[in-house]
């Protein structure tokens, strides 16, 4: 058989195994290595809520999908070219994601009677049972080979087994012609301090996996995915959405000159933001792991009153707990960034799965007339700009701002051209200027006539003593139950938020003509999938994506006017389309929805769009 090296435009690899098999690490290493190699890339971790679900069962399967390309890739890919399945359960739950041309690599040792039974196979051949027998199957005794490789290492049997994923990674590196140097460096960094004895064994297993794949006859061809040529020059790094969110907030702290304070309670999938901020105390960030979600936001509100850039991070159930305090921040007109990394709901729902179903809660989930700006991030790296913008709006308009992220964005990663902070605008909160005229009393809720924003008198300044709180007040900050005053204040608070629109960039048509039959519309983390889908459909369809939800960009109606029909696609039952119908009822909306805790597939979007053409 002639060995061929085939150059591919892009390739999707799905690593799947037991939740203790290290598939998340294997996948991210493959991704990071490919990023440094120069590929475009997107990742999608898909893991169970249980830390260690019952061993060998379908519910305990953890997956990590990587899409690498010789150009920018917009999504982690619908279906994979290589499925790595470390046990029968992983094969069973992931076989459906294989392309017809896919390769499937399995650990033969895990496919014993017990393993097959645990995964619920009823016949002897898992491949025919799943109808994937015609794929290119690579059946390798990975466990045995790993044990063999580390026979002389002196490591205990349990530690040896933990190195299986490195053997697999070595095989994948051979198949896709990846250089191993990056992984060597990673292993050296990771184990240098605490476990230097693990560096060499891991390197050896990785190498042995690579060589094993080269030696067996089961792999007819290998592949290359060339580094991207169209990339803008500059320094790149790989970044996850949660990391980018944390860094965007730190950037806003630097640009505003206000120390960052984050009061949060751990919750999946938002915790990594709190963890990331906790690392960066060198930038003056203070993090407070609160006793509950309510204390998270209330400590942040206190910190905001005291003059910090205050943040609280959470996911859907936590946002529910914060509702009352959000109302307090609206009423006291204090800057605050609330990050909601959405997950499947309601209630505990699907903690590790992605969804866009908190939009209604973000827009309306408070008592009284209680509007606040709502913005959404559309890709892992865009979380940086979205967080920066959320903080800028909060600080300059004296309002809490809701930043919607998604599990898909928070855990997903992509390469990012590192920006320069010199290109970011200053953030200028409306501080009092420190001088009061003789006999003048500071009126905390007096407003700027243009923006309706009140002034910010941080405690500690002589003469500006004032009270804020949840009770209705007049402009002077004095309690008032006067009917006319209440209505005026309700209107002013709403108008203040509405006027943020004048500061926002206009809505742009990203694909297709500015007028036509069909405009596809999305918001948040579906951006990559929607863009790929409209590009695949090609002519005759246009696409616009919303980063700003409340208020909507000022030109939204103008953009919509030019289309016969507007197809709103989102990962919920129709929350954004409902909002658009209420806000701009004059247009003809149709909708495409999915509520499965999974991102869209480009293929299903293409079908949905074609149906409307």
């Amino acid at each position: 058989m002639q060995h061929k090296v085939i150059d591919l435009k892009d390739v999707v690899i799905r690593f799947a195994g037991d939740s203790g098999d290290g598939m998340q690490l294997t996948g991210s290493l493959f991704a990071d290595m490919s990023a440094i190699y120069g590929n475009g890339l997107a990742t999608f971790p898909d893991f169970p809520a249980e830390i260690r679900a019952p061993h060998g069962t379908v519910s305990g399967v953890s997956g990590f999908q990587v899409h690498i390309g010789s150009d920018k890739v917009g999504t982690p890919g619908d279906f994979c070219d290589l499925l790595v399945a470390m046990n029968p359960a992983a094969l069973k739950s992931n076989a459906k994601w294989c392309k017809p041309t896919a390769m499937i690599l399995v650990d033969e040792d895990a496919f014993d009677e017990k393993g097959m039974a645990r995964a619920g196979f009823t016949t002897e051949n898992p491949f025919t049972e799943l109808h994937v027998e015609d794929r290119a199957l690579i059946v390798a005794p990975i466990t045995t080979l790993t044990q063999e490789s580390l026979k002389e290492s002196g490591l205990d049997p349990k530690t040896v087994l933990k190195c299986k994923n490195m053997f697999t990674l070595g095989m994948a590196c051979y198949i896709y012609s990846r250089p191993l140097e990056y992984i060597y460096q990673y292993l050296e960094r990771k184990f240098a301090k605490k476990h230097p004895e693990l560096i060499e064994p891991n390197k050896k297993v990785l190498n042995d996996g690579f060589n094993y794949a080269a030696n067996i006859q089961a792999i007819p061809n290998t592949y290359t995915v060339a580094p991207s040529k169209n990339k803008k020059p500059g320094t790149y790094r790989n970044i996850t959405g949660n990391q980018a969110t944390a860094w965007g907030l730190l950037a806003a702290s630097e640009k505003s000159g206000l120390p960052l304070f984050c009061g949060s309670y751990p919750i999946t999938p938002a915790t990594a933001i709190l963890e990331e901020l906790a690392i960066h105390k060198s930038l003056g960030a203070k993090t407070l792991q609160a006793e509950d979600e309510i204390a998270g936001i209330c400590t942040a509100i206190g910190a905001s009153y005291a003059g910090n850039l205050a943040v609280t991070t959470t996911s859907g159930p936590g946002l529910s707990l914060k509702s009352e305090a959000l109302g307090l921040a609206v009423m006291a007109e204090l800057p605050l960034v609330v990050v909601d990394v959405q997950r499947g709901g309601p209630s505990t729902g699907l903690p590790t799965k992605t969804e866009q179903s908190d939009l209604d809660q973000a827009l309306y989930g408070r008592n009284g007339e209680c509007p606040m700006p709502v913005i959404a991030a559309h890709s892992p790296s865009h979380c940086f700009d979205a967080a920066f913008t959320a903080a800028k709006i909060a600080l300059e308009h004296m309002t809490p701002v809701m930043l919607l992220s998604e599990g898909f964005l928070g855990n997903g990663s992509e390469p990012w051209l590192i920006p320069s902070m010199a290109d970011y605008p200053e953030i200028k909160p409306p501080f009092v200027n420190g001088v009061l005229a003789e006999g003048e009393k500071f009126k905390p809720f007096e407003r700027d006539p243009q923006t309706l924003v009140r002034r910010w008198a941080i405690p500690g300044q002589k003469g500006f003593e004032h009270r804020v709180g949840g009770l209705e007040k007049n402009h002077a900050g004095v309690l008032s139950t006067d009917p006319a005053n209440h209505e005026m204040m309700v209107r002013e608070r709403a108008e203040k938020v509405a006027r943020v629109a004048s500061q926002l960039p206009p809505l742009e048509i990203i694909h297709g003509p500015a007028a036509g039959k069909l405009l596809v519309v999305g918001w948040g983390g579906t951006f990559g999938h929607l863009l790929n889908a409209v590009e695949e459909v090609g002519d005759g369809v246009s696409f616009a994506h919303f980063d700003f939800i409340n208020p909507l960009p000022a030109n939204t109606a103008k953009v919509f006017e030019a289309f016969d029909k507007i197809l709103v696609c989102e990962l919920n039952s129709g929350q954004f389309v409902g909002y658009l119908r209420a806000t701009l009822p004059q247009f003809n909306y149709v909708q495409y929805n999915k509520v499965q805790g999974q991102p869209f597939l480009v293929s299903e979007l293409v079908d949905a769009i074609k149906k409307e053409l």
Partner: protein, 339 residues
């Protein structure tokens, strides 16, 4: 040097508590204590922030001419914590009621004490929900008849002192609303204490729980049923200081001085600064008819404060880290060049 008087702390807002409400006296004590605190610590007025939750007593910030934050029910302690961590230079006072701090806000209350955040909490304990017009609270006596317990409660009350000391609180004091002078002393001591100070003020609610603390506050019986603890002083009480507290090896005991072989020598001397939480807990737990109720500063010990810890850690990491700007952060770790 700050030269402030109680008038400087009085706002122009009309005080709207019911006539005869115990809160008036606590407010007056605070307005008299803060000038002394300012003198002692050289604090200007703009350094004070008064925070509250929801309830009658939580209206207090409006009556203080300082920075103030009237937050939401139960959450004052969390707001105070955020203020103090964000800006440790500010001095934070908090007003909250028994329902506010111990029911809906119980979680924040115990965690602020556990963290030893440097805030001063005045806990107005009238054993009733006043602002909602008379429902039982977590400190209402067992069997209390209120609007939501027409046949009497069937639940045990919290003793705030036990709760604070159980959470290893570093400062706990108790007093009666009417003890203006003692309250000034307590508030000053709380201000000087570096850490979380809890001052339980036993207040009367003239409308919904009149005479809540009458059994100990009535002038006729107060000397016999309360004991004011002062550092370095013998634990004596009674109209003629004829009774004292002794420790009999197992527990505290009330003795009549000069009777049963007990002399003044045997009577305990109070030391709020001693890290003797067992004795302080026993003092905080005392109740009639066997014991007098302890008033004054029961515990006042030094420990690391949360706000100092946070600030010092930030300083420490700043000094050690190589990352001091966001640009440096963005370029940290693995990066690669595209030409």
């Amino acid at each position: 040097m700050a030269n402030l008087t109680f008038k400087d702390f009085k706002s122009d807002q009309e005080v709207r508590w019911c006539p005869g409400c115990g809160d008036h006296a606590v407010l007056a004590a605070l307005q008299r204590a803060l000038p002394k605190v300012s003198q002692a610590l050289n604090y200007e007025k703009e350094r004070y922030v008064v925070v509250s939750g929801i309830g009658c007593s939580s209206r207090l910030p409006y009556y203080m001419d300082t920075y103030g934050f009237h937050s939401i029910h139960g959450r004052a302690t969390a707001v105070s914590t955020g203020i103090k961590v964000a800006n440790p230079w500010l001095t934070v006072w908090q007003a909250c009621g028994d329902g506010d701090a111990l029911a809906i806000g119980g979680n924040h209350f115990i965690h602020a004490i556990r963290r030893n955040i440097d805030i001063n909490i005045i806990l107005f304990n009238n054993q009733i929900y006043g602002l909602t017009k008379g429902q039982y609270s977590p400190t209402s006596k067992f069997g209390a008849i209120t609007k939501t317990s027409p046949y009497g409660t069937v639940e045990h009350p919290f003793n705030p002192g036990s709760l604070v000391l159980g959470a290893k609180g570093t400062f706990f004091a108790r007093s009666l609303d009417v003890e203006l002078k003692l309250n000034e002393e307590i508030m000053t001591a709380a201000a000087l204490h570096d850490g979380c100070s809890v001052m339980e003020m036993l207040t009367n609610c003239v409308i919904f729980n009149d005479g809540a603390h009458k059994s100990i506050s009535d002038p006729e019986v107060r000397a016999d049923r309360t004991i004011v603890l002062r550092d370095g002083e013998k634990m004596v009480f009674g109209k003629n200081s004829e009774k004292g507290l002794v420790y009999d090896g197992r527990k505290l005991r009330v003795v009549h001085i000069g009777e049963g072989g007990f002399t003044l020598e045997d009577v305990l001397v109070h030391d709020s600064h001693a890290d003797n939480i067992g004795l302080q807990m026993a003092l905080a737990d005392m109740k009639g008819p066997e014991y007098p109720v302890a008033l004054g500063v029961i515990r006042d010990v030094k420990d690391i404060t949360y706000d100092d810890g946070v600030r010092d850690q930030v300083k420490d990491v700043m000094a050690k880290s190589k990352i001091h700007t966001v640009d440096e952060l963005l370029h940290s770790g693995s990066t690669w060049e595209v030409q």
